[in-house]
């Protein structure tokens, strides 16, 4: 049985059907004029061989202007699968995404450079030296492979996390460009049995990570049937440019037939128009160009319509994931993906602030609620991200799990039908005749059936705010719980066949 996610019965939509079609038309116009600039030769050749107009651009870097005709895009949309399966080490964690079904899965990610530690030093009141309080203190540092293991471990136990995107960039001294991929894949797969998605640092490592996945899944065919890994490729740099290396990676991933998110992240105001109509038309064109390329490489490649639109901050021109418009853009993209019937990889839960707290809670909950209501299939960035996607905090991820439990409960379909109405009518008529006129007796059958939402799990007692401390205790509790590691024999084969994995990650050889 795959994970159930949450089916949004009537998803929130900002755009009318006419507006969706208008955006589609303008995106098609963008792809033919001006088209895209490609810095990758192979993409140019593929598109050209299928009818795209190509023209070399003079300059320091070799590049081409590529004009993609509408019929090529429409043909690609025909071959792109409407249903994408993302497998998992534990088959119960499989995700099945239908492009036209607004069933939401909550996913971690994306990769941050900074890991945020938390500690609770004790302070003494100057006015009353007998009074001590514990105050959370956050300390940023560079992420390590050990952090990634911890993150994968805790996210395995987060009830609402449906899949795992690596959360932190591993920057240990013994991690190089050549061994980064195999280590991040192994650290994640070995500590988490949910679907694993990641970007690739070096194309040279693609075959190694695919082989690792084959070993874990049980062979090449087993991996095809149960794709336990998938890839994210930001092949498009806004505005409208195919980047050389990520496009090369994307082409190779498509050749191997593994699922891939075609992601674009334009920034409204700098790399895309600030107006909603403009950024949506542009990102839609960028994602469609990627999907078209992928389907030309290998028709039927499972792709996700990856949208990470964001508005620029006006004070720094950095990203502002906390801005209201960012959520609007994401909701629009969810609708565009549904229009094409392709599962959507969307974004919510990232905040602008650097540490957990009130601003973080407000910003992330706002986007989590409204974007989830629009029904994206693969909602990433949803756990633990701070400071516009550059900081990951495990404590925050634990807090987010509680938020998503509330959101998932909220999105459940109401039960209003004839038998239900008859039952409540009977109840009302019975209760009003009793001396106490209380419905409490009718609560009990629902109490343990999951039909009543729970109280906030980190509610403190008294008049102090204990949320962080209680969430920290929960985090430690989850870390103490065992995870199902890759078995000894498979681990041995992985270490034999795949070069570059750090020996300290082999849990069966530690201390020997």
């Amino acid at each position: 049985m795959p994970r159930e996610g949450i089916l949004v019965d009537r998803p929130y939509e900002r755009l009318t059907r006419e507006q969706v079609e208008l955006i589609h038309q303008v995106s098609m116009q963008i792809l033919t004029d001006p088209g895209l600039i490609s810095f990758n030769r192979e993409a140019v050749d593929i598109l050209h061989s299928h009818g795209a107009a190509v023209e070399s651009i003079a300059g320091d870097h070799q590049s081409w202007q590529v004009k993609i005709p509408e019929q090529l895009v429409l043909k690609a949309l025909d071959t792109a699968p409407r249903i994408v399966k993302l497998g998992a080490r534990n088959p119960d964690n499989t995700l099945i995404m239908h492009g036209d079904e607004p069933r939401v899965y909550f996913i971690t990610g994306s990769e941050t450079n900074i890991w945020l530690d938390v500690d609770f030093p004790i302070y003494v009141s100057k006015a009353d030296p007998t009074r001590e309080i514990r105050v959370p203190e956050f300390k940023p540092r560079r992420g390590t492979v050990d952090d990634l293991c911890q993150s994968a471990h805790v996210c395995e136990h987060l009830e609402m996390a449906d899949g795992y995107i690596r959360t932190v960039n591993i920057q240990d001294r013994d991690i190089t460009e050549d061994n980064k991929d195999v280590n991040k894949f192994f650290a994640s797969l070995n500590n988490n049995t949910k679907h694993f998605m990641s970007g690739l640092t070096s194309l040279k490592q693609l075959d190694n990570v695919v082989r690792m996945a084959e070993l874990v899944a049980g062979g090449k065919k087993a991996l095809e049937d149960n794709p336990i890994i998938s890839f994210i490729t930001c092949l498009v740099k806004s505005p409208l440019q195919f980047v050389d290396d990520t496009t090369a990676t994307f082409i190779e991933v498509c050749r191997r037939g593994l699922p891939v998110a075609v992601s674009s992240s334009p920034q409204a105001g700098t790399t895309a128009p600030i107006k909603e109509a403009g950024i949506i038309a542009q990102i839609n064109a960028e994602v469609l160009a990627g999907i078209t390329l992928g389907q030309l490489v290998k028709p039927g490649t499972p792709v996700l319509y990856g949208s990470v639109p964001v508005r620029a901050r006006m004070d720094t021109l950095g990203d502002s994931y906390g801005s209201v418009e960012t959520s609007q853009y994401n909701i629009d993209c969810v609708q565009m993906a549904r229009f094409y019937g392709i599962p959507n990889y969307s974004t919510s839960g990232v905040c602008d602030t650097k540490i957990p707290g009130q601003q973080s809670s407000i910003e992330r909950l706002f986007s989590d609620i409204v974007v989830a209501m629009s029904g994206p299939q693969y909602l990433h960035c949803a756990f633990g991200l701070l400071d516009c996607n550059s900081v990951f905090c495990l404590l925050q991820a634990v807090l987010d799990d509680a938020h998503f439990k509330m959101i998932k409960f909220f999105l459940r379909q109401p039960r209003i039908d004839q038998p239900e109405m008859e039952a409540v009518l009977k109840q009302i008529r019975a209760v009003v005749t009793t001396p106490q006129k209380l419905y409490i007796g009718y609560i009990r059958p629902l109490l343990r059936s999951g039909e009543i939402s729970g109280i906030y799990p980190f509610e403190g007692s008294g008049e102090t705010d204990d949320v962080f401390e209680l969430a920290y205790e929960r985090m430690k509790e989850l870390l103490a719980r065992p995870v199902e590691h890759i078995d000894r024999e498979t681990t041995s084969r992985i270490f034999e066949e795949i070069p570059g994995i750090l020996p300290r990650l082999n849990i069966y050889e530690r201390g020997s």
Partner: protein, 230 residues
């Protein structure tokens, strides 16, 4: 004889289990469906009395023992308030059934407790919960209702001589009536005969002291604790 003891033990143990499950009657499902369709506390109490089992044994080994377990599970958050109230209601119903037998056997209740929502206030959720819980804890509860005039409270205290009086108010505009009731009890020389407990969203410990109440109860469980302390 041995068989009789065994039947008696079985019924009492089943009463205790049904109290834990919060099953007042046969129709109640309980906390799970393990006892569904079998006799509840009401039917079992009637059976027990029919077999001449002493009311004191029913109370001590069945009802109170069951409530003890319920209280423990509530304190460990395994049970919720609706569970606690269901059990208390079942115990209260059993006490009603046993009232004639208790009177004839001269078994005293824990005390007579009158409760009312004061004049001008019609809110009664809290009051009702207190009434259910106290009844389930073995008190003889007299619910005077909502929007109760001061004279009616005074009259009840004079005539029925309850050891305890609970006053409830939700509104800041009606809480002052509590002070009026206490003053009226003083004027009628009844104040020393009854402990006055107050509760409700609008009131506080400080307010209780201000109007001369004997105790402020933060919730129904606090009311039980306060009474046990007298």
């Amino acid at each position: 004889m041995k068989g009789g003891v065994s039947v008696s033990k079985d019924i009492i143990a089943t009463i205790k289990e049904n109290v834990i499950q919060g099953r007042k009657t046969q129709e109640d499902v309980g906390i799970d469906d393990s006892l569904a369709g079998t006799a509840g506390v009401v039917e079992l109490t009637q059976q027990a009395l029919g077999k001449n089992i002493s009311p004191q044994v029913i109370i001590t080994d069945g009802l109170t023992a069951g409530m003890q377990v319920v209280g423990e599970r509530f304190s460990t958050k395994e049970y919720f308030i609706p569970d606690m109230l269901a059990s208390a209601e079942a115990v209260g119903a059993a006490m009603d059934i046993m009232k004639p037998a208790l009177e004839s056997a001269n078994v005293e209740t824990k005390g007579k407790f009158a409760i009312a929502t004061v004049k001008g206030d019609i809110h009664d959720i809290g009051k009702n919960i207190v009434a259910i819980l106290l009844k389930g804890s073995g008190y003889e509860v007299h619910d005077l209702g909502i929007d109760v005039p001061t004279e009616k409270v005074v009259e009840f205290v004079r005539e029925e001589k309850p050891g305890y009086l609970g006053l409830s108010a939700l509104l800041t505009t009606t809480m002052t009536e509590m002070g009026v009731v206490i003053k009226a009890l003083e004027e009628n020389k009844l104040r020393s005969s009854v402990k006055v407990l107050i509760g409700g969203a609008a009131v506080s410990e400080e307010f209780a002291q201000e109007i001369g109440a004997d105790a402020y109860c933060v919730d129904a469980f606090d009311a039980v604790r306060v009474l046990e302390g007298y």
